[in-house]
Symmetry: C2
């Protein structure tokens, strides 16, 4: 990409609020340099002219790129090897009459050693409420550590609460983590996550659709959510209130044909209501262990192990043996006939089971009578 | 029912381990008095003779009935008005090659003012692990109180943990509650629930398939579970370990075509694993409020209300209004043109939204410029 092209990309990245369908079509049809030139002149169709009118004279592409270069970041477009084509393919399948913003980004501003093209193959988005509880943060850290251990990259939104817990846990386990921001790369938001986002930019990847200096807005948070959902092969909602941005990301994941998972929690916690509603309405699969997420995003055949079941000495006994075992006295001894009456079986059907129980060390014979073996 | 018949019922109730298909068929075909006589003589088919051989000479029917009468209890059979025909109909639909015990009881020994025939129309079984956590007991009490408030009877198994919490909460709210026992009515089991079961027998109903004096066995617990499942229009599992009797009851409920529900809990709690597995495998519906259970067991159209959603001043703003709202400065003021650039909209599309925001008390004009209203 030469400097003229780079500036044109930076210019179109700012001139209209992304995503913009007309802008994407113009760039695809005429190339980014010609497209930028036509927008600058106002020589575009009515709809795109309106969308670019307010900012078309505001050309700070050179400054934006200077900020990016100084940070050590890079500009990605769909010409790059690093562009996550596969992840963004999913936007083609969405019904745009229902979701007008279901478009891939035109330009991404990114910072960090991870590559989106690698991450798209093995990733999970972990999202949730800013009002996370201790339980939610613990569950997030536990799931994230388990995912990282299986080389799954963790995508989130950099926010307080669940998002932050996911990034922190991924960094702590030396895993890959991607923070998709609703602001420019140089605008640490929320301010309290400035150090955390700095570390994500050093060890993982910061991603933004917005040029440097852009402050976040509500609309940008919602638009950003579609990229979080697209970059995760599954989206896991750890905690969400009844009205939560995480539900929006889950909606995007569902629209994009991604798997949506939710972590249950106490029914007494308002921070779990959103998860419970998603599960109850069958919009999300209940997950309680990282292995269950790996099963969904990993290679074919990578199944979660069964929960460990406690074992008992009585495992494997037949119904007859169990009935006889139950008829053995706790104190004293019983004759075969007494055992038969208690067990409700003919005496002839009691001796065989007694012998088996004796072999397994569960029953003891004493003077022709039987009792439970002390264990 | 005359005394001869009553004794015959009591006799057949003890002579074979219930449920017994051949015994039920004989009683249905020849009447209970003739059936009892033939068993006593050993004049029955091979299979039934074996099943009754150990106890056929043990006739303690008169004593059993005396114990029952002294307690103030009654014997129920399918001749009685109080017999829950509808609830037990479901056994006909079960594949008995898979569940040989899928048979209604022949005789029920009951004690208490409630009537099973009334309860079957509006009931929920609440079951769970004996190793209940504080959370599980709280959730049980909360659900039960909500069910009682809507006149739903609560059926359970009288055990420690969730069962006990359900009975206690129902009694505390003056609701109807049924404890289906795996032992005789006069054998308080577990011993620590002796006072609780006594209260259930006074205010609700104790039910047992077993004659007085019968001690509980593992097999009886499992057989009992089918009656708990049959008597609840839905079965709610509140907490269950990975290996839990509650999962057995849930299996019966499912086989009987009843609705199975499970209450989620923290993923860190081993007492919730069983519930999470049921929900994840879609064998149970997630429930977190009594109203959601009432919706399933109640009258048609008795829907659970939506969760209350927090409201915001920004509810109902259009996208344009929201974008302009976001472009207003927190400190100082901005001109219409500045707001237009920040919002990425033509200046002509900014004035309308500003006026609306002003009307709603969200934006203030000052010397031709605009700022956020202090709230």
């Amino acid at each position: 990409m030469d400097e003229v092209e780079r500036r044109a990309w930076a210019y179109v990245s700012r001139v209209a609020e992304p995503p913009n369908e007309q802008l994407a079509a113009l760039v695809a049809g005429e190339g980014v340099v010609a497209a930028a030139e036509r927008i600058r002149r106002g020589d575009v169709h009515d709809k795109l002219r309106k969308a670019t009118e307010a900012r078309r004279d505001l050309d700070c592409a050179a400054e934006d790129l200077e900020v990016l270069d100084r940070m050590g970041g890079r500009l990605l477009t769909d010409g790059d090897d690093e562009w996550p084509y596969l992840a963004f393919q999913a936007f083609r399948t969405v019904d745009r009459t229902k979701r007008p913003h279901a478009l891939p980004p035109l330009v991404l501003w990114v910072l960090g050693p991870s590559r989106l093209s690698d991450i798209q193959d093995r990733s999970a988005a972990i999202v949730g409420t800013r009002a996370a509880t201790n339980y939610g943060e613990y569950a997030t850290a536990d799931l994230t550590a388990g995912l990282v251990e299986k080389d799954v990259a963790v995508v989130s939104g950099g926010a307080y609460g669940i998002d932050g817990a996911a990034h922190r846990a991924a960094l702590a386990s030396d895993g890959e983590t991607v923070a998709v921001l609703a602001a420019g790369l140089d605008v640490p938001y929320p301010a309290g996550h400035s150090a955390l986002l700095h570390r994500v930019g050093k060890q993982g990847l910061l991603v933004s659709e917005y040029p440097p200096g852009t402050r976040p807005t509500r609309r940008q948070f919602l638009t950003r959510n579609r990229l979080v959902a697209a970059l995760g092969k599954a989206t896991v909602v750890v905690e969400a209130g009844i009205r939560s941005g995480a539900a929006n990301t889950a909606g995007w994941a569902d629209a994009l044909g991604r798997i949506v998972c939710a972590v249950p929690g106490p029914i007494t916690s308002s921070s779990s209501i959103g998860c419970h509603v998603l599960i109850r309405d069958r919009k999300a699969i209940l997950v309680s262990r990282a292995a269950e997420v790996v099963e969904l995003v990993g290679r074919i055949g990578e199944f979660a192990p069964e929960h460990e079941r406690p074992v008992s000495d009585l495992d494997g006994l037949s119904d007859d043996e169990l009935a006889v075992y139950e008829a053995l006295p706790g104190r004293g001894t019983r004759s075969v006939e007494e055992i038969a009456v208690t067990a409700g079986k003919p005496a002839t059907q009691v001796l065989g089971p007694l012998t088996m129980l004796n072999v397994r060390g569960l029953a003891i014979q004493e003077n022709g009578c039987w009792k439970l073996a002390k264990r």
